[in-house]
Amino acid sequence: MNSKMKNTNKQDQITRKEALKKMGKYAALTAIGTFIVLNPKKAQATSPPDPGGNPFD
């Protein structure tokens, strides 16, 4: 497995909309009523003014 750091980054790049889309795989449950899995961020963060930009590149 790659470093934990890499995993963390990947996790945090999943946006809420993507998370909602992912819920499609729980179609049987969502057909009955709301079912959404919510993951808090794994570390404290501030919102970068320009997401994705790396000032060190």
Binding site: I32, G33, T34, P40, K41, T46, P48
Partner: protein, 381 residues
């Protein structure tokens, strides 16, 4: 094998239940019936066949759907268990060779605390200093806490009083900013770093007695609205980063200036004198930003407030003005994925209980006076 089951199950309103899984720090917001099905699945006395039969008998769900539901829950539980093999946060760091010299040294004052920060480079300084520049003081070698920030290979490091407390890849610099924000808040308010329940991606406004948390997707106008409220005499407790503390369940002041993007400069200029503030350029897209310091005198302001209202804001020039109650499950859809919430079991329960007591609203506005009047109404209860 013991089945993974939710540690906490609580109703958040008439229709929805929140479940928390301690193995993965995952929250599930679901309807009451789904919650019952998940509990049935996790009951060690129920295998697949008895689960499907139970659904047929009590919920009139046929075998095909019963099996599909069983598989959905099994998949979800597997995901939850898989996540348990990852650690949530790293608390120990390998020894790293620290720079022999830091070319940039700044001192800051917050209430009665003096903080020294040493930056290894101008780029690093540009990620931390502009937000707190209004707290700069002349250095006199005396300080209560020191922070050092440097880069080694592709990693950024944060030291507090010589000990490493954060390490992130350069591309994830906003996590280092977040770690710094919490460490700084913790030092200023003399708190215990292990007792922060959450850091919300939110701006928070106070009237000197209580606070209102403002959430919304990036670009919805949280900071601009905060600055407008500040121009009307309200106190900005936090911009973008709102920490909740365990012992008193209060939101604590994070002393950064409010970041305003170029699109709002002209509108704000008629309310606040921001013309002379430096315009910073961030990132490859060259976003222009001004950091607007508080109008009120910092040392006269209280450091923490209770919060009874969360407002989801959306600036929308075409869709009129309205303040309505927002379903709690919808608020959580924005609040949880955008925030850090401690994986500690005690903290998760306190977060859920705190959230249950807050009132949730949605503010859509195109007219600033409308938005301001609604905040006034919320504060006056």
């Amino acid at each position: 094998m013991t089945k993974v089951s939710p540690k906490f199950i609580q109703n958040i309103n008439d229709d929805n239940v929140i479940l928390w899984f301690n193995e993965s720090n995952k929250y599930v917001v679901t309807s009451d019936i789904n919650s019952k099905l998940i509990q049935l699945y996790t009951n060690p006395d129920y295998g697949r066949d008895s689960f499907v039969s139970y659904l047929k008998e009590h919920f009139q769900i046929d075998s095909e759907n019963g099996n599909a539901i069983y598989e959905n829950i099994a998949d979800f539980i597997e995901e939850t268990t898989y996540a348990s093999s990852e650690s949530h946060t790293t608390t120990t760091f390998p020894k790293v060779e620290t720079p022999s010299h830091y070319p940039i040294l700044n001192y800051y004052s917050f209430y009665d605390k003096k903080i020294r920060i040493r930056y290894e480079s101008d780029i690093i300084k540009s990620l931390f200093h502009p937000q707190i520049a209004h707290h700069s003081i002349d250095g006199d070698q005396k300080f209560d806490t020191s922070f050092d920030i440097f880069k080694k290979s592709d990693d950024l490091y944060l030291l507090r009083d010589g000990d490493c407390v954060g390490k992130f890849k350069t591309e994830s610099f906003h996590f280092l900013q977040g770690k710094f924000a919490l460490e700084l808040t913790n030092s200023i308010h003399n708190k215990n770093i292990d007792q922060w329940i959450a850091t919300f991606h939110a701006s928070t406004i106070s009237n000197g007695k209580e606070s209102i948390m403002i959430i919304g997707d990036s670009g919805n106008g949280k900071s601009t609205l905060s600055a407008l409220l500040m121009a009307k005499g309200y106190d900005i407790l936090c911009d973008d980063f709102t920490p909740l503390y365990e012992n008193d369940m209060l939101l604590y002041r994070y002393p950064a200036a409010t970041s305003i993007k170029k699109g709002a400069f002209d509108m704000l200029q008629s309310h606040l004198d921001i013309e002379d503030l430096i315009t910073h350029t961030n990132g490859p897209k060259k976003v222009n930003i001004k950091y607007v310091p508080p109008v009120l005198k910092y040392n006269s302001l209280k450091s923490a407030f209770p919060c009874h209202h969360i407002v989801y804001v959306k600036y929308d020039k075409d869709n009129g003005n309205a303040l309505n109650k927002m379903p709690k499950d919808k608020i959580l859809e924005t609040l949880i994925p955008d925030s850090w919430i401690s994986p500690n079991e005690r903290h998760a329960l306190k977060f859920i209980n705190w959230f249950k007591e807050t009132n949730c609203h949605k503010l859509t506005y195109s007219n600033n006076d409308f938005a301001l009047s609604k905040f006034e109404e919320l504060f006056n209860g």
